[in-house]
Amino acid sequence: MEFESDLNLKATELRLGLPGRDESEEQSSSCVKKNKRSSSEMDSSSEHQESGPSAPKAQVVGWPPVRSYRKNVLQQQKKPESDGSGMFVKVSMDGAPYLRKIDLKCYKNYFDLLKALENMFKCTIGVYSEREGYNGSEYAPTYEDKDGDWMLVGDVPWDMFITSCKRLRIMKGSEAKGLGCL
C-alpha cells in the first residue's frame, strides 16, 4: 500500500475521536519532560515521526504501557529468521566464468537443491552416499560453513545445512575425492 503523506494516512484511518484530541495528546507529551528511562527509545522513534509509511506514529509518553526494559530488549534482538527476506548464497562452479546466487529457502531438501544446481550449471552431480560422497560423479557439491570449513553437501540434516551454509562451490569430481572419504 502506498501512502502519499501523513495527512492521507490520518484521513483513511478508522479512528474516531472528538476533534482536537490529537492536539491534546501532543500537548500532554510536550508538557512532560523526558526522564532517564525514556530517553533512548523515545528519541530514536521521534526521529521517524515524519518519514515513511511504516514509521511509528507520533508517540505519547508511556503509551502503550510497555515497560522500558521490555521495549529495549525487543529493539536489541534480531528479528526472527522467517521475515521473508530469503537466504541467498553465492554458488561457484570450477571452470565457470562467473558465479550465481540462489535462495536456499526456495528448496525443501537436498534433492531439490541438487536438481536445481544441475539445471543451473548444466552438469551432473549424481547421488550422495554417506560412505562414498559423490564418488563417481563428474562434480561434487561442497559448501563453506560458519566456521569457514569446506564441507560436503549432504552430511547434515537439511535444516542444519541451510542455517550454516555461507556459500556453495561445485567442485570437479577429481578434486572432491578426498572429501568423500572423510
Binding site: 494516512l9 478508522l14 479512528r15 474516531l16 475521536g17 484530541r21 491534546s24 495528546e25 500532554s28 508538557c31 512532560v32 519532560k33 523526558k34 526522564n35 532517564k36 528511562r37 525514556s38 522513534s45 509509511p53 511504516s54 514509521a55 511509528p56 506514529k57 508517540q59 505519547v60 509518553v61 508511556g62 503509551w63 502503550p64 504501557p65 510497555v66 515497560r67 522500558s68 526494559y69 521490555r70 521495549k71 530488549v73 525487543l74 534482538q77 534480531k78 528479528k79 526472527p80 529468521e81 522467517s82 560458519k146 566456521d147 547434515v156 535444516d159 542444519m160 542455517t163 550454516s164
Partner: protein
C-alpha cells in the same frame, strides 16, 4: 471476669492467622488481644512506603521477621513519574537495623535502593534469608557483592526487573566457599556477564537450589554445565537461547534437560534459535509456567512448544503467537489460568502479526480456568468482549491494551462501553481492570454499578466528563487503587468524592483537568491524605489557580507530609497557601 486464655495460648492460636486482614480484625477485638497480636506479628506489608513511617511500624510491631514495602505508583513503570520523586528505602533499613536484628526477609517493589542500603542490610541482620528487589533501581553490583559476602544464611536473591548498574561480574564470587544455602537466584535483569566459573561453583555447592534465572549473557552452550549440577531445579530462566547449530551442543542440551525431572517453570529465551527448542521437549509435560515474552520466534516453532506443555497454567508470550497459535493453545492447554500477550512492535503503525481479538476469544472459549488476562492488540469489538465475559464469568484480572488510544469497535465504530460493561456485569469477582479503546462516561456508569469487588482500575484516554470519574468513585466499593491518565476528569468529581479517597490506598491522575485550586482544597479538607502535585513546570503558585496540574498523586497516610520531596513535588495541606513565598 478473667476467663481469657493465657497469652501463650492466644499467641499460638494467632500464629495460624496468616492474612493481614485477619490479624487486623483480631486487633480490634479488645485491648489485650491487640497487645498480644502486635507482639507476635512476624510479617508486615506496607503497600505505600509513605502511608506510614518506619518508626510507627516498629513501635507497634516489635518482633517482625519479614517486611514487604512498595514505593512508586504503578504508572512509574511507564515513565510517568519523574526521576527523583522518592521511594527511598534507606530510612526503612536504617530504622530496622536497630529495631529488628532478627529480620530475615525484605521484599521491595518500585523503590530506590542504594548500595549503602544493601551494605547496611548485609551487616545488620545475622539471620538474613530473603532479598527480593522487584522493579527497583539505584544500586550497583557492588551492593550485590556486600550481600553475597556477608549474608551467610541467604536463601533467596531475586532482582526481578530491577535496574542495576553493572560495574563488574565478579560480585558473584563474593559468596564464600562454604556458603551452601542458596535456594533461589534471579539475576535475569543484569546486563553484563557474571563470572561463569563462579556461577558454576555456586550452583554446584547449592543442593537446595530450586530457582535459577540467568541473565542474557549466559551462553546456551554453557547451560548444560549448570543444569547438570542442579537437576533438582523447579524453575529455570535460560540465558540467550542461541548458539551455532552444532549437534554436540544440541545433544548436550537435550540430555541436560531430560535430567531435570522437577522443572515446572521456564523463562529467559532471549535471541531464540528455533532449532534448539526441541531440546526441551522432554520437560514440557511438567511445565506449568512459561515466560516466552522475550522470545522473538514465529508461529510454527512457538506454537509447537506451547502446545506441548499440556499442563500449562501460566503463559507469557509475544504476539507472534497470533490468533492461530492462541487457538491451538486453547485446544491443548486446558489448565491455563493466566495469559499475557505482549506486543512485538508496540510503536509500529501497521500490524506486523495476525493477532486480533479473535485470539483472546478462542482462549476464553477453550480454557475453563482462565482468570487472569493481559492482552495487547490492535483491534477489538464489543461482540468479542461480550463473548469473553459470557465465556469466563470467573475472571479476576482483565487488562486490555488496544495499542492506539481511543480506537472504537472496529466492526460497528461504536465506543467499547457495552463490551467492558459486559465484563464487569458478568465477572462479579473481578479485582483488577485496565481499559482502553474509545470509551464514554457510560462505561464508568457500568463499572460503578457492577464492579463491586474491583480493587484496581487503570484508565487512559477515556471518558467525556467528570461524571465518569464520579461513577467510579461513588460506585466501586472495594476500590483501592485508581490510576488515570489523559482523561477529561476534573475538580467536581474529585471534590464531591473526597472522603472516598481516605478508603483507598492511592489515586493517580496525570494529564487530566484537575486544577491547582482543587488540589489545595482537597489537601486542606482531608488532613489524613497527602495530596501531591507533581509538576515540572515550576511552582503551581506561579500559574493561575484554575490551571490544571500535570500530575496529582493522592494517598492516605498516618505520617503526614513526607520530608524527602524533590523540587517538583508539592504537598497540599492546611498551610499550603502560606508555604509558597
Amino acid at each position: 471476669m478473667a476467663y481469657s486464655f493465657p497469652e501463650e495460648v492466644l499467641e499460638h492460636v494467632f500464629s495460624f492467622l496468616t492474612s493481614d486482614k485477619d490479624r487486623n480484625a483480631v486487633c480490634l477485638v479488645c485491648k489485650s488481644w491487640y497487645e498480644i497480636e502486635r507482639w507476635c506479628r512476624r510479617r508486615i506489608f506496607v503497600g505505600n512506603c509513605y502511608a506510614v513511617s518506619p518508626e510507627i511500624v516498629i513501635r507497634r510491631f516489635p518482633e517482625v521477621r519479614a517486611v514487604e514495602i512498595k514505593g512508586k505508583p504503578h504508572f512509574a513503570d511507564f515513565n510517568l513519574v519523574p526521576e527523583g520523586w522518592g521511594a527511598y528505602v534507606y530510612p526503612w533499613v536504617a530504622a530496622m537495623s536497630a529495631a529488628y536484628p532478627l529480620l530475615e526477609e525484605i521484599k521491595l517493589k518500585r523503590m530506590v535502593v542504594t548500595d549503602e542500603s544493601l551494605e547496611l542490610i548485609s551487616k545488620s541482620f545475622k539471620n538474613f534469608k530473603v532479598l527480593v528487589l522487584s522493579s527497583c533501581e539505584g544500586f550497583t553490583t557492588d551492593g550485590l557483592a556486600s550481600i553475597a559476602a556477608n549474608c551467610r544464611n541467604l536463601r533467596e536473591l531475586d532482582l526481578r526487573e530491577s535496574e542495576v548498574e553493572d560495574l563488574s561480574g565478579h560480585w558473584l564470587s563474593h559468596f564464600p566457599d562454604n556458603y551452601t544455602s542458596l535456594v533461589s537466584l534471579n539475576i535475569s535483569c543484569l546486563g553484563s556477564e557474571v563470572s561463569f566459573s563462579a556461577l558454576e561453583r555456586l550452583v554446584a555447592r547449592s543442593p537446595n537450589l530450586r530457582t535459577l534465572r540467568l541473565n542474557r549473557a549466559v551462553p546456551l552452550e554453557k547451560l548444560p554445565n549448570l543444569l547438570r549440577r542442579a537437576p533438582q531445579l523447579v524453575e529455570l530462566g535460560t540465558g540467550a537461547y542461541s548458539a551455532e547449530i552444532r549437534s554436540d551442543t544440541y545433544s548436550n542440551l537435550a540430555e541436560a534437560f531430560s535430567a531435570c525431572k522437577q522443572l515446572k517453570g521456564l523463562s529467559g529465551f532471549w535471541d531464540v534459535v528455533p532449532s534448539y527448542l526441541p531440546a526441551m521437549l522432554h520437560v514440557c509435560s511438567g511445565i506449568t509456567s512459561l515466560n516466552l515474552s522475550y522470545a522473538t520466534i514465529q508461529s510454527p516453532d512457538l506454537v509447537q512448544l506451547v502446545t506441548q506443555c499440556r499442563n500449562l497454567q501460566r503463559l507469557w508470550v509475544l504476539d507472534y503467537i497470533e490468533d492461530s497459535g492462541l487457538e491451538a493453545l486453547a485446544a491443548s492447554c486446558k489448565d491455563l489460568q493466566e495469559l499475557r500477550v505482549f506486543p512485538s512492535d508496540p510503536f509500529g503503525a501497521v500490524p506486523n502479526v495476525s493477532l486480533t481479538e479473535q485470539g483472546l476469544v478462542s482462549v476464553s472459549e477453550g480454557c475453563p480456568k482462565l482468570q487472569s488476562v493481559l492482552y495487547f492488540c490492535r483491534q477489538m469489538s464489543n461482540a468479542a468482549l461480550v463473548a469473553i465475559a459470557r465465556n469466563r464469568p470467573k475472571l479476576i484480572r482483565f487488562r486490555l491494551c488496544i495499542l492506539e488510544p481511543r480506537v472504537p469497535d472496529y466492526l460497528t465504530l461504536e465506543p467499547l462501553d457495552t463490551g467492558f460493561g459486559a465484563i464487569v456485569e458478568n465477572c462479579k469477582e473481578l479485582r483488577r481492570l485496565s481499559l482502553s479503546g474509545l470509551l464514554t462516561d457510560r462505561v464508568f456508569k457500568y463499572i460503578g454499578t457492577h464492579a463491586k469487588k474491583l480493587e484496581m482500575l487503570s484508565i487512559a484516554f477515556a471518558g467525556d466528563s467528570d461524571l465518569g470519574l464520579h461513577h467510579v468513585l461513588s460506585g466501586c466499593e472495594s476500590l483501592r487503587k485508581l490510576e488515570i491518565r489523559d482523561c477529561p476528569f476534573g475538580d467536581k468529581a474529585l471534590l464531591a468524592n473526597a472522603a472516598k479517597l481516605e478508603t483507598m490506598r492511592s489515586l493517580w491522575m496525570s494529564s487530566c483537568s484537575v486544577s491547582y485550586g482543587a488540589c489545595k482544597l482537597l489537601g486542606q479538607k482531608l488532613p489524613r491524605l497527602n495530596v501531591e502535585v507533581i509538576d515540572e513546570r515550576g511552582p503551581p503558585d506561579s500559574r493561575p489557580e484554575s490551571c490544571p496540574v500535570e500530575r496529582l498523586y493522592v494517598y492516605r497516610t498516618v505520617s503526614g507530609r513526607r520530608v524527602d520531596m524533590p523540587g517538583f513535588v508539592w504537598t497540599m495541606d492546611e498551610d499550603a497557601s502560606l508555604r509558597f513565598s
